[in-house]
Symmetry: C2
Subunit: 204 residues, 2 copies
Amino acid sequence: MPRPRSLTHAQVASAALTVIDRDGLPGLSMRAVAKELGMSTMALYRYVDDREELEAQVVELVLGAVDTEPPPPDLPWCERIEVMAARLRDAVGAHPAIVPLTLTQRHRSPAQLRWAEAVLAILTAAGIEGEQRVIALRGLLAYIVGAIQLEHLGPLSGDGTVAISQLPPGDFPYMSETARQARDVGPDQEFLGGLAVLLRGLGA
Amino acid sequence: MPRPRSLTHAQVASAALTVIDRDGLPGLSMRAVAKELGMSTMALYRYVDDREELEAQVVELVLGAVDTEPPPPDLPWCERIEVMAARLRDAVGAHPAIVPLTLTQRHRSPAQLRWAEAVLAILTAAGIEGEQRVIALRGLLAYIVGAIQLEHLGPLSGDGTVAISQLPPGDFPYMSETARQARDVGPDQEFLGGLAVLLRGLGA
DNA sequence: CTCGTAAGCGTATGCCGTACGCCTAAACCC
DNA sequence: GGGTTTAGGCGTACGGCATACGCTTACGAG
């Protein structure tokens, strides 16, 4: 009987993501999202309780796009995990500015639950069980989360690496040399290389 | 000839850290820090250019407390890396609320440079060089950063694990079982267990 | 004692999130 | 088709935030 909603929750989250992609995370405000939707600021509060819920919906929108279907079962288990890891990384990488948001929202995300369930299935099939399986899942998550952040907040290809390579070799002999070598390591090589180390440790 | 400063930069950073420890990260504001110091808000701007610089000084205060001396050389290399990792984790763990700050400030931190230099020395002594050394350092950093965040924002001992353990076993068979097993895994076991996996991968 | 300098502060601006209350569009019932 | 009800949409207002700008004042050098 009441007046129907003129927007879906998905449209609201999507408008917020548009704002973030255009103006960066600092540009996200209730006013900006409302303007993006062509409504008044306060009308937005008919769809979300507060800013935090809006942020959660943005994270869910991005993480919800992650494919959680089991990878081809004919692949070796470690490659199947690589597929799952890459899907998560790619989804976040499409909207790098939300990285800090995933921090606080990640654990409440249904999409993340489905992702973890699929990874656990692979680990179990690989014969990893009990406490080792707990540690493996958390370790993978920690690595992926950390690697995504490092990649977007302090990339190997960025200014930081150049600055480090010019550090006085007397004080930082290893750092300056390593930074020079880091120029030849691309983002994919870095991410997959670290993941391969972790998987090798799991397999031994 | 001019009037002398009544505060050191360290005192300013320390006051900010006091505010964060007491009121959490959302409680950090220029006003709150100024009040903590007994000065007016604008007087604070004689010590920092803006809020971002204040945050950087807080991170540096915490990270600066990390011991970067080489661990006892008679330990196996992987145990020496464990020592270095634990020092970083302990320093941040003493002020968990700053975790999100370390994200954006980490790469500019001299303390972090010294830490990385020490780790690189250990890796090199272990025979890891070239691009593999780049990947090893970044992988370690990614894991440690991610693990610290997971530990403080979604701890295994927290509500999230309980909630997951009560998920419908039909939809999430592995997650619910794994969450039940996770209750027996303490924070140290989780952190060191994941690190051990990574180090095993580096050693193979 | 005087004076230059920078420390410290007061004020004001323009953001922000959001509590509260009004107006009105629309769907149901008759 | 008209009346009623219900929630959608909006305007206003408040308190808190970072911070630009300019004044005042404590201090040390001479």
